[in-house]
């Protein structure tokens, strides 16, 4: 039977990984709450938020420039948790966006955060600003905000591209404490060069679990670890097969190994 995604072993592998994650999430919700290792930079968040309040300056949150997608949603999630403590301190968050829909979601995320912290009056919808859906127009706007609003702390989280260096360097110049996390590995070196703390790779996805400590997210992290383990196993098995193949004479074995190799070849 032919499948929508023609390479069915791949479809099954994706399904397997998904099941592992969901299973871990559910077991965690049932009360088997795991613990995760500390993530450098996460502990600095409260400090950075506090500093901004002492200086009486606002906090900047940029959810990347990839428009409305999963990465941006994760960024907004992290911001949601941070915004709660910002609200407790009674400080402002400025959140520029590059996408109309994200603007809407972000507005509600922040409103909720301030609500929960019991400071709804502190939330000003004007602080969630759609700037432009154009990469560098957005960058110019964010640079303007940083310089004019004298931002004291800025969080750059999500998918950033070339503009990351512009935003981070302007922030650095304005003397802001900067904490960044991006899914774009090619931008990591520039963020490392300009920010005070940088979350590497999928520390970005672990951040919300780390901040919230809630079972679902922690469980998900465990599931993700197992999934990564599965992927690495696949690599190892593949490598062993490819290496052994030249030395085999038994036809059955050759066929078996060639099959294992072909398994993921799409």
């Amino acid at each position: 039977m032919e499948f929508a995604y023609t390479n069915w072993p791949v479809a099954y592998f994706v399904l397997l990984i998904s099941l592992v994650i969901v299973f871990k999430v559910v077991t965690a919700q049932r009360g088997k709450v795991p613990s995760i290792r500390r993530i450098a930079g996460m502990n600095a968040i409260d400090e950075a938020v506090g500093r901004a309040t002492e200086m009486g300056r606002p906090i900047l949150m940029v959810p990347g420039i990839s428009g409305f997608d999963i990465v941006t949603m994760q960024a907004l999630n992290i911001f949601g948790y941070i915004a709660r403590s910002v609200a407790k301190f009674g400080n402002r968050c400025i959140l520029p966006t590059i996408d109309p829909v994200v603007t809407g979601v972000a507005e509600e995320v922040l409103r909720d955060a301030y609500q929960e912290a019991g400071r709804p009056e502190m939330f000003n919808p004007e602080d969630v600003r759609f700037l432009s859906d154009r990469q560098f127009a957005f960058a110019s706007g964010v640079s303007g905000i940083i310089s004019r609003e004298k931002v004291a702390t800025s969080f750059l989280m999500g998918a950033f591209f070339a503009e990351s260096l512009i935003i981070a360097e302007v922030g650095q110049r304005a003397g802001a404490v900067q904490i960044a996390a991006t899914t774009q590995t090619t931008q990591l070196p520039f963020l490392i060069a300009t920010c005070d703390y940088v979350l590497l790779g999928d520390e970005f996805y672990a951040a919300s679990a780390y901040l919230s400590r809630n079972p679902t997210l922690l469980g998900s992290i465990v599931g993700q670890d197992y999934s990564k383990l599965l992927m690495l196993l696949a690599v190892l098995i593949g490598t062993i097969c490819v290496t052994l193949l030249p030395f085999l004479h038994n036809h059955f074995m050759i066929h078996l190994l060639s099959y294992l190799i072909a398994l993921f070849k799409s």
Partner: protein, 224 residues
């Protein structure tokens, strides 16, 4: 006068001043920068609004409905109210519904992306880590460097991956060591990216300088 002519030519003068104004940001945020920043954002917003009509709504909504008579498309108009429900108290929950729907679709597409974009990276990592012994002495010698490279490849992949396990206890001394070395190797890789990006970025700057000096001021003359 003839000299001033090309300098005052609007199609050169305007972008030239704009470029200088934007560049001035590196010294300090100032009125000129602010002026062109606002102009920039205004132009960008105007453009994107217009092409939302010309590139999306007209060909995919208006024409099918108005020209081809697929009148069902009109349903979207009242439904799109849900986006704007955030501006109301009574209906705000509807915006959550529509945003939820959109994030649902975004999540749905990820499965295919995962299969199409990331699984191939697994298969691309299958490496033969042993020299070729079957095709004689020279072939073996020739294949040794490749085998070593492949071995290093797998080693680096595993070492770096080890650093990114969050839930598994990393009490074991060796595991910790591997994870840390993985992080260090990652730094080398990132440094390399940094170095490799500089040329393209500087080329852009030099190109803008070339525009100012060659096209606008015309104090640089080139073969072309």
């Amino acid at each position: 006068m003839n000299y001033l002519h090309h300098i005052l030519e609007p199609r050169l003068l305007f972008p030239a001043i704009g470029t200088l104004a934007i560049f001035s940001l590196v010294f300090r945020e100032n009125k000129m920068y602010r002026l062109f920043e606002h102009m920039f954002i205004g132009l960008a917003a105007g453009y994107s609004l217009a092409i939302t009509w010309t590139d999306v709504l007209k060909p995919f909504w208006w024409d099918p409905m108005w020209v081809d008579g697929q009148w069902e498309w009109v349903v979207i108009v009242p439904l799109s109210f849900m986006f704007y429900a955030i501006y109301t108290k009574k209906f705000v929950w509807m915006s959550r519904l529509i945003f939820g729907f959109f994030f649902g679709t975004a999540s749905g597409t990820v499965f295919r992306q995962f299969a199409g974009e990331y699984i191939p990276q697994i298969t691309a990592s299958y490496k033969n880590v042993f020299p070729d012994l079957k095709h004689g002495h020279t072939a073996m010698l020739a294949s040794i460097p490749q085998a070593i490279d492949n071995l290093i490849f797998v080693a680096i992949l595993l070492a770096v991956a080890t650093y990114f396990f969050f839930a598994f206890e990393q009490q074991n001394k060796t595991v910790q060591k591997v994870a840390l070395s993985g992080r260090a190797i990652l730094m080398i890789a990132l440094g390399a990216i940094f170095g490799a990006t500089i040329m393209t970025r500087e080329a852009l700057l030099i190109d803008r300088m070339y525009f100012l000096l060659h096209d606008w001021l015309q104090i640089v003359h080139s073969a072309m």
